[in-house]
């Protein structure tokens, strides 16, 4: 189980491969891998966006991510997980977040990865400041709801 706050770009698919190759517990036991990758769009709320800066709270951010993963482990049977989140300056199409979950069965993998992602969106202390095509900068006020019923 790993959580990482990443300065600079990263390739989520290479990170998954490398993590999976190094995880001794996975070979032969994994029946399901669920992966979520969030990437930066070049538009938001009707505005063209040319970049953004992601601020975080060093120490608290990692602590909250670890708590979220621990909550998921208590609710579902997981073999392993990897959570990575970018900070600093980001460009459109760059990966922002990776949540990968390994389990014996798909139900645990799907549900746990969704839970981790939604909890991250609402509780992990990251803040986005967008740079618009117009030259203006603006803080994103809040995240959209992930579940339709929210």
């Amino acid at each position: 189980m790993a959580v990482m706050v990443v300065q600079g770009n990263f390739d989520p698919w290479q990170e998954i491969q490398a993590y999976q190759n190094a995880a001794d517990c996975l070979p032969g036991t994994v029946g399901a891998t669920s992966v979520f990758v969030g990437t930066m769009r070049d538009f938001n709320a009707g505005n063209a966006v040319k970049g953004m800066t992601l601020e975080y709270y060093p120490g608290m951010t990692e602590r909250q991510l670890e708590k979220i993963v621990a909550e998921a482990r208590r609710q579902w049977r997981l073999l392993d997980s990897l959570v990575m989140h970018r900070v600093g300056d980001i460009l459109p199409n760059d990966p922002i977040v990776l949540v990968a979950v390994w389990a014996a069965h798909r139900g645990d993998a799907f549900d746990a990865s969704r839970y981790i992602m939604e909890a991250l969106k609402s509780r992990a202390p990251f803040w986005k400041k967008e740079r618009l095509d117009s030259g203006d900068e603006c803080w994103v006020a809040e995240n959209t709801k992930g579940y339709k019923s929210d």
């Binding site: 969030g38 992601l54 601020e55 975080y56 709270y57 120490g59 608290m60 602590r63 909250q64 989140h85 922002i96 977040v97 992602m117 991250l120 969106k121 609402s122 509780r123 992990a124 202390p125 990251f126 803040w127 986005k128 400041k129 803080w139 994103v140 006020a141 809040e142 995240n143």
Partner: protein, 98 residues
Amino acid sequence: MRHLSFNYPYFRNGVHVMSNKASIKVRYFASLKENLGRSEDHLVYTGLMTVREIWCSANPGQPLPCNILAAVNMDYVDLDSLIEAGDEVAFFPPVTGG
């Protein structure tokens, strides 16, 4: 709103000279940090206080933003939670990661 029992002394922008045990570190992030024009304050600990009172002491006359979130020692807390000497209190807007 101003909290009369705890207006002063406080020291801004890291210029305090107290030991950590006698002080409260207050941190601000993102748009709140920009609006206030500083990233942290250091307050003298004078007894049990709530997180809300910490805000009032550090920001006299400045209303607490309605959607603000607070943490003590890097865990989320209610604004009425009590803080202790040496605690790190943080205020920040809704989170927007992911």
